[in-house]
């Protein structure tokens, strides 16, 4: 076969190869080791070493388009935080991320509650708080430094799984400490031991700029693979950890010894990468041979 002809191959054939390279590993289950990068491990250890009962602020700054990358890492980190006895405050700066912000916390809480006695069950308002969406990104991030309750005013109305029944909890004023005891200890950034934005866009810059640099809040990032290279230079002096893309999510799942969908997806990821590398090598060989022939 003339390798030069490969340069004119119909791109749809390549799409089929890529699709198969993603599909087949789901059935083969090769369990290719993922390893742990220092950036992901640093965040894991940071959360691991926080005193029990610490409050962690997480922000959902992404929508369904980035769900495959950011949702598994958010769930893994929230799970780790809950297992260490920490509390979660979940905010959302992307209007399309409201459902993801709620589900990531309530799903993990519901899963952990299955094995917990009644008095240890994770509850909204006590162990976690979901505020819902606020517009303004940078303004909201700055405003939290002044007053968290004034920035958000009320918590979101959420659906919680209580005793196997889906119960809707109404929106409550954040100043109602009786119904939201978690708010007793939340004033501004000083109340949070760590802030983690899960972000698919430029809000990360605002978190570093205002929460990190201005309010000296420890910030760790959960970002998509596309944005990850931009934020590596901030580690470790300006951010305490960085979880990048599906691989970062898989690394975190491995660190908490709870392999889930990110870990399962990494076999497909590795297979697709190997295939793309092969395509690049073959394409370059064909290119140089075609030059030589001319």
């Amino acid at each position: 076969m003339d390798i030069v002809k490969l340069m004119k191959i119909d791109r749809r054939i390549l799409f089929v190869f890529i699709f198969l390279s993603v599909l087949i590993p789901f059935f083969l289950k090769c369990n290719i080791p993922v390893g742990e990068s220092p950036e992901t491990e640093a965040l894991f250890r940071y959360i691991d070493n926080l005193p029990e009962g610490s409050i962690i602020l997480i922000s959902t700054d992404y929508d369904m388009a980035s769900r495959p990358e950011l949702y598994p890492m958010a769930k893994a980190i929230i799970r780790h935080a809950f297992m260490k006895g920490h509390k979660i405050v979940s905010i959302c700066l992307w209007p399309n991320g409201v459902g993801l912000a709620e589900n990531s916390v309530t799903e993990v809480a519901a899963k952990l509650n299955e094995k917990r006695p009644e008095d240890k069950k994770l509850r909204h308002g006590k162990d976690y708080l979901i505020t819902g969406y606020r517009a303004g990104v940078a303004i909201v991030i700055m405003s939290i430094g002044d007053s968290f309750s004034r920035t958000f005013g009320t918590c979101a109305s959420i659906t919680e799984n209580i005793d196997g029944k889906k119960t809707t909890i109404p929106s409550i004023s954040l100043d109602d400490h009786h119904r939201l005891p978690i708010m007793k200890n939340i004033k501004n950034y000083d109340s949070f031991k760590l802030t983690i934005p899960f972000a698919a866009g430029a809000s990360v810059d605002a978190w570093i700029e205002f929460a990190g640099a201005r309010y000296h809040q420890p910030v760790a990032l959960g970002v998509t693979a596309v944005s990850a290279p931009r934020y590596y230079p901030f580690f470790p002096n300006q951010i305490v950890g960085l979880v990048g893309g599906l691989k970062g999510a898989a690394e975190y799942e491995n660190l908490i010894k709870n392999p889930d969908w990110a870990t399962k997806g990494m076999d497909a990821q590795s297979a697709a990468h190997i295939l793309i590398i092969l395509f690049i090598i073959i394409g370059n060989i064909a290119y140089f041979i075609s030059i030589k022939k001319k």
């Binding site: 789901f26 420890p218 470790p236």
Partner: protein, 315 residues
């Protein structure tokens, strides 16, 4: 699973296939799915903005009063009017009015960005590039023990004390894995200890118990300069760290030369700029690699949805 959820899954699966049909060629199914996506996103955002912004932050405090105090916030009339003025962009006659809120937004944005960028990006990044030198001062850990039969490992390195006390200096401002074993091999302690720059963390080993007397607060640690975690990689004081510093130094310098256009890129400047291009290419390569990973991740997400939620082929 409720019928609504099942219908939703079938609808989502159908739309997924419609979107991917574009890879074969542009077609009507793709266009339908694209329009549904744009339309439903816009509708969703409108509803979210109404219930999360308009109702609790404008309508309720303005017309019904604060939830707790009952006081009306009439000050909100000003931002509400400014917001409405934004909409005059759609009228050719009154579009000039939209310049008022736009000027406020731009002014505020510029004010925030200038200080923010200098404070968070320019100065800390320059400082880190300089402070990346291998001779930087770092933290220490003091381990005291009355037992002689212990094997103490710090970051997988043997540091068995000869006396009752040992201080390990030159540690990076991060977490260091401390493992204490009995000579018979029985593990009695394995935990990361936090170290901050210019501070000494303290650990005391008494009989079968290891007490962490003092370690850096995670919040303090974030304020101090440090370097990458050296557990498992033994980066500190090693060739790798020096190599890291040399690479960063050459990379920053030569890349800056590439973007220096006041002198023609000839002679020494030209050669340095060419080295800079190499570093820029490596940076582009890394970005490209990560972008490929991101796009494949999205495909994986869809394939997982089709195989698990729709077809139930895998669990």
């Amino acid at each position: 699973m409720s019928p609504v959820v099942i219908i939703g899954i079938w609808f989502a699966a159908g739309l997924t296939l419609c979107i991917y049909s574009f890879l074969y060629k542009d077609n009507v199914f793709y266009k339908i799915a694209e329009h549904v996506y744009v339309g439903s996103s816009a509708a969703y955002i409108t509803v979210v903005a109404w219930y999360n912004i308009m109702v609790p932050q404008v309508i309720r405090p303005l017309f019904y009063g604060d939830v707790n105090t009952g006081q009306h916030s009439f000050i909100l009339i000003i931002p509400t009017i400014l917001g409405i003025l934004m909409l005059t962009r759609f009228s050719s006659k009154y579009s000039w009015l939209s310049r008022i809120p736009m000027s406020i937004v731009f002014g505020m944005g510029a004010g925030m960005a200038i200080t923010g960028v200098v404070q968070a990006f320019i100065i800390p990044q320059i400082k880190d590039t300089i402070a990346n030198s291998p001779v930087i001062k770092i933290g220490a850990m003091k381990i005291s023990t009355d037992r002689k039969d212990l094997l103490i490992l710090l970051d997988n390195k043997d540091i068995t004390p000869k006396g009752n006390e040992i201080t390990v200096g030159n540690l990076t401002a991060t977490q260091h894995m401390l493992i204490v074993k009995e000579s018979a091999g029985k593990l009695i302690f394995a935990k990361p200890i936090l170290v901050a720059s210019g501070q000494t963390s303290e650990v005391a080993i008494e009989k079968d118990e290891v007490k962490v007397i003092k370690q850096a607060d995670p919040k303090d640690m974030a304020k101090f300069p440090g370097r990458k975690n050296n557990f498992g990689f033994a980066l500190s004081n090693s060739l790798f760290l020096n190599l890291d510093f040399i690479l960063v130094f050459i990379g920053v310098l030569t890349t800056l030369f590439y973007f220096y256009f006041s002198t023609p890129h000839t002679g020494v400047v030209g050669k340095l700029a060419k080295v800079g291009i190499g570093f820029i290419m490596v940076s582009f390569g890394a970005s490209f690699g990560f972008t490929v990973m991101a796009r494949i991740s999205l495909l994986i997400g869809r394939v997982q949805f089709l195989l698990v939620d729709w077809l139930h082929l895998i669990k």
